[in-house]
Amino acid sequence: MEITNKEVWVFIEQRSGVPADVSLELLSKGRKLADTLQGELKALILGHNVQSIAEKAFTYGVDEAIVIDALALEHYRTAPYSRLVSNLILERNPRILLFGATVIGRDLAPYVASKTKSGLTADCTDLKIEDVVYLKKSYPQLLLQIRPAFGGNIIATIITPDTVTQMATVREGVMEMHKADSPKPFKVESIPYEADPIDEIVQIIEQHREENKVNLKSAPIIVAGGYGLSTKDNFKLVKELAHLLGGEFAGSRAAVDAGFVTPERQVGQTGVTVRPKLYIAIGISGAIQHRAGMQESQKIIAINSDPDAPIFSIAHYGIVGDASDVLPKLIEAYKNKLK
């Protein structure tokens, strides 16, 4: 298989004229990957009236935007989006295609990967370009798709050596968003939308969104609880401390599964990735999936009854003790200092 194309594409997810944060984060990462490959970074934008989105993409280092603009594409639907993206991939053979691991990305990416017989790795926590020897064969400049797997006890590096386009999804917040130092001149390739009856196979009857009230990503202080809290009542202490410190409360996946917190407050590989000034992990053992979502916090306090819990290995302050005992004391100590 002769690979000549070195383009890195990012699927830009948008709603009502605003690009998703994760897409801009992926452009920032995509710029680095494209530089390593010495190839171009392209933003793939489908929607209606998306000119301003294309302009915004350029501030994140895009070389060119590929735009399909049509009323039929105003709201995401699997059929037209997957058809158009797949056709473009098969026609242009980009080397890399990245999607945000959002509901849309997780609906679209696998369908496209199947259609184009590409490999796809979900929820990567890191992406790198490296020369690889696999089964005694050399593959120059492959995309290393790195993610925790199997309960977080291993970190797997996945490659797709024999597919033309290497695809991956990444959760919001995992890659850092930064603007390009010197943006490239605005250059858009507009592709006309040609309707296909298949596009109308599923219709949107109604759509309803609420502004996301929870914004963990921008909270300076996060107090997170895990399964170790045992009860919902204990979790109230987590909320109380968060409120007192002027921060947000959050939970590990186990806390979400146990019903202590709602999924939008889940920190970790399959939740949100955060980098607050202070992260307090209470009753969280610290599996790699959770650490992947918070280890870059400035200061980490771990409270756990198990002195061998992995969370202590990345903590700056460690408190061994039961949350139901430690938390009231901590809340009390803080209140006393405020007086």
Partner: protein, 295 residues
Amino acid sequence: MWHSIVLVKQVPDTANISGKVMKEDGTVNRAKLPAIFNHEDKVALELALRLKDTYGGKVTAITMGPQRASDILRECLYMGADQVFLISDRKFAGADTLATSYVLSEAIKKIGEFHFVFAGRQAIDGDTAQVGPQTAEKLGIPQITYAEEILDLSDSKITVKRKIDGGQEILQSQIPVLITVIKDAVTPRPFSAKRVMAYKGAKALPDLEKMVEGNSLLYMDKLLEEYKERNLFIPTLTTDDLDVEVERCGLSGSPTKVHNVESVVLASGSHKKIEPNKDGLTQLIVELMNDHIIG
């Protein structure tokens, strides 16, 4: 008559994994792990059963996996599935989501006419959420992912409420359609005691093979006939039964390869120990305030 096919998976209980269960090629030796019914697939089965309760029809559950995956097929029977199939062959081993979807789609075609394919949104061992959409693509049918509720079913259309980022939407799809289901959609019903009694002895082909292996008095042909007669045979589909290209199955049909696996080694922490008493905690608060971490 409405026919739903539900894709179910037996998954390793990922809370209990150690380096000992990894094989040299980087894949997991599932035989060494405790195995459970992937919860979201159970929810998908429940949704299919409720669709049947309301609109009539038939529910078929299928799984691709090794011999012991027949455990969850028996559980499907206990819950109320009308028929189950095990898709099992050594050549299917090591499949990634694409190779899995390929085999599942071929099995579905073999099973016959259907209106709905249900599946859990994702399985807890990989969390990829890819097999549903990829099976839909291979079957050439539309998909509705992240489904929460079925609102209506008419002659040619199904209306489904699904979750989207920050909200919900209602979609109306033509039939057939593949629907992936999130865990909060419905609560799976308990096993029916009557059905447990009826089906606890149900066996798939690899189960019978194992019985024969361990007992020289048993003969495969006779055993198979006996189980079929007693209506306790779980039909098993292998490469011989499906119109599959073998190179598109299993490891060889998987574009994603595991290049490297690292066990997570934790550096011993250099954190500061805080005593969980008034003095220790006050000291911590003071330190954080001095560093302007908290106000």
